[in-house]
Point group: C2
Chain length 88, copies 2
């Protein structure tokens, strides 16, 4: 069975985010007043497997080993069996 | 009224995504077989305003002028009035 995987990676609370700071300052220079800018990254992919929990545990390993830096990042994993995906 | 804004930026279909290619290859080297890797970016911020449609049009301007490159990026804008946000 094919699974759609979505990993949402964000910086842990309190980590400096220079990208967000730059966006906020640049928008301000253009005349837009915004606050609390945050940036997240989403990595989506597909994986073959039989069991949702096995997939989830594999993806957790991927996050810890490659996709995230567990020291500074939080991540959320979403595993959706292909036939349950919406809008397809 | 305070609005929560979420801008989801993805590459247009057909654009090369070296980051995704690298992720796919690296996961393969670690023994994980995944396919169709895609990456998106989410920029979240807050903005004061009275009218949801005015906010949305401002954010569209921000996207065209600063946040995205309209030549290579697609973007989706989500405007949520603060008191309607879930989980707060």
């Amino acid at each position: 069975m094919l699974f759609d995987i979505e990993v949402k990676i964000s910086l842990k609370r309190g980590m400096l985010n220079p990208e967000a700071t730059t966006i906020e300052r640049s928008l301000d220079l253009l005349g837009y007043k915004v606050k609390n800018v945050k940036t997240d990254e989403i990595i989506k992919f597909q994986m073959e497997g039989e069991d949702r929990e096995v997939i989830r545990s594999n993806v957790t390993d991927m996050c810890e080993r490659l996709l995230c830096n567990p020291v500074i990042h939080d991540y959320k994993i979403n595993v959706i069996p292909q036939n349950m995906a919406c809008g397809k």
